[in-house]
């Protein structure tokens, strides 16, 4: 549905985006992660047809975004910019009506009514945009970005600055978009949110540092670990596990974190040995590093030239 092929953008001498390639399918949530200035917004702008790549291309469906096709293809793309960008002296309804007409929708008032209803803004349609809370503004901006029912939805920091309840609402809306088979690209600094929502994550610093599912990124970087909580002090069982061949065991109070090659075959062995050693097991679970750990590890590696080359391979 949406693809980037060797996408590169230079501003003078500076390379903002370098050789980015990916392909997204309908119903996929794809997250762009990276520090400030990593090229996330530039990437979104190229995907939205707002700025042209210096080299490489963007494909929407079976068509390539060019200067000629951009105006038409923009009607298949919905962009939520970092700032809501509502006309503050106009009401929410007026804001949406202008966009419904700009997109050439057949019945703009009806499309606006439906959008207001869908985004829980029916009662606020007559309010000036300036009078809305930050959360409602973001919701109105999202309604505007999706008014024309685009196949591709690009969201730049969709929950930045929102209170937890508003952020949860936005996340629910994004999940709803996924269920409608829209292709969604999110640029975000909120790693917890990305971990919860994204099917795949691209970590970038101008160029692509890594691209995979959050779980696969973790497994690739840190290997698999099993976390076991016991009733007794956990240190007593380190020796038992070492004898069973589990050399990498970390202990924290009554919890053991054990590195395993294959989680499926190793977990029953671990449990058996611990029970035989008299441990009262409270819980056994796959240990999942937070995306934040993965992200920071990737960027730290990227910062060191040798590690960066290794990552590239």
């Amino acid at each position: 549905m949406l693809s980037a092929s060797q996408l590169t953008r230079r501003f003078g001498e500076r390379v903002a985006v370098d050789d980015l390639t990916f392909e997204l399918v309908p119903g996929e949530i794809f997250a762009l992660l990276g520090p400030n200035g990593a090229g996330k917004t530039t990437t979104l702008r190229m995907l939205a047809g707002l700025i042209a790549p210096s080299s490489g291309s963007v494909g929407v469906g079976s068509e390539i975004l060019t200067r000629d096709t951009a105006p038409r293809l923009r009607s298949r793309i919905g962009l939520l910019t970092e700032a809501p960008g509502l006309w503050e002296r106009l009401t929410v309804r007026q804001n949406l009506l202008v966009y419904a007409r700009l997109h050439g929708l057949p019945d703009p008032p009806r499309a606006v009514d439906e959008a207001l209803e869908a985004f829980g803004l029916r009662d606020r349609g007559g309010d000036l945009a300036a009078e809305l809370s930050k959360g409602l503004r973001q919701r109105a901006a999202l309604a505007r970005a999706l008014l024309h029912r685009p196949d591709v939805v690009l969201l730049d920091e969709p929950t930045a600055g929102l209170d937890p309840a508003s952020a949860r609402d936005v996340r629910a809306l994004v999940q709803q978009l996924r269920s409608e088979r829209r292709t969604i690209v999110i640029s975000s600094h909120n790693l917890d949110e990305v971990e919860r929502m994204a099917d795949r994550v691209a970590v970038m610093r101008a160029r692509l540092v890594a691209l995979d599912t959050p779980a696969a990124l973790h497994a690739r970087l840190f290997g698999a670990r099993v976390r076991i909580a016991v009733r007794q002090p956990a240190a007593a069982f380190v020796e038992v596990l070492a004898r069973a061949g589990f050399a990498d065991v970390q202990v924290q109070d009554r919890t053991l974190s054990v590195a395993v090659d294959d989680e499926e075959s190793a977990t029953p062995v671990l449990v058996r040995r611990l029970v035989e050693a008299g441990a009262d097991l409270l819980s056994v679970a796959r240990e999942q590093a937070r995306l934040e750990d993965v992200y920071l590890h990737l960027l730290d590696s990227e910062a060191a030239p040798d590690a960066a080359r290794a990552d590239r391979r």
Partner: protein, 267 residues
Amino acid sequence: MSRLLALVGKEMADLRRNPALVFPAILAGSLSMLLPFVVAVLVPSLAGERLSDSSDIAIALERYREHGALGGLDPEAAAQAWIFQQFLVLLVLTPVTGAMAIAAASIVGEKQARTLEPLLATPLSTFELLAGKVLGAFLPALALTAATYVVYLAGVAALAESGAFRALLLPASLAVTFLLGPLLSLAALQLAVCVSSRVNDARSAQQIGVLVVLPLTAAFVLQITGMLRLTVPLLGAAALVLVGVNAGLMLLGIRLFDRESILTRWK
């Protein structure tokens, strides 16, 4: 076309919510309108003298009458009519200066309010964007011009000598008000919108756009000193030139409008 109308509709809605934008134009128009009444009616009345007794005005008036204008008016009415017609050129300027504030803020204002990027993400073309912005400033200017003319005409009919208002109904007067004035307004506003898409603040655009009023001011001075007479053929020729200038300015605006620079370099 529907996208262009959508944008013009937005500009009008915005203006309705912020009528203060046109107050300077209304104020300037009102003051400009008072000036000829002071010159042609109030001062002679306070001084107890007749305009037609002035030798300077008599010379100008004689030249004026040679062209067949205002035949049948008594000398005082003709003198007043001549003055009221001269000031008409200045009067059509005021809506332009007022609308300039709207045009100057058009693109840079959207950028500063961070509303431009979502707008550019729609299928809106550069022509539609620029034309919408120009029309958004031009239509209020046109309405102000028409309103100013009607009030001026009514004021002259009520306060000046009988028949003096006929000067404002002459073809040349109508051409100045409804052809030359609007075309010059359009050029000025297009220039302001062009500049608005290249500068980082509205004031720069406004200052440069206002330069367009200079030709009208020059025309006013040349006309009142008798060095230029705005006849219908001359006004028609000027209008044709202005149509070309306006088309050229639109093409220039489209060429100058650089979406990428606006999005990526403006802060």
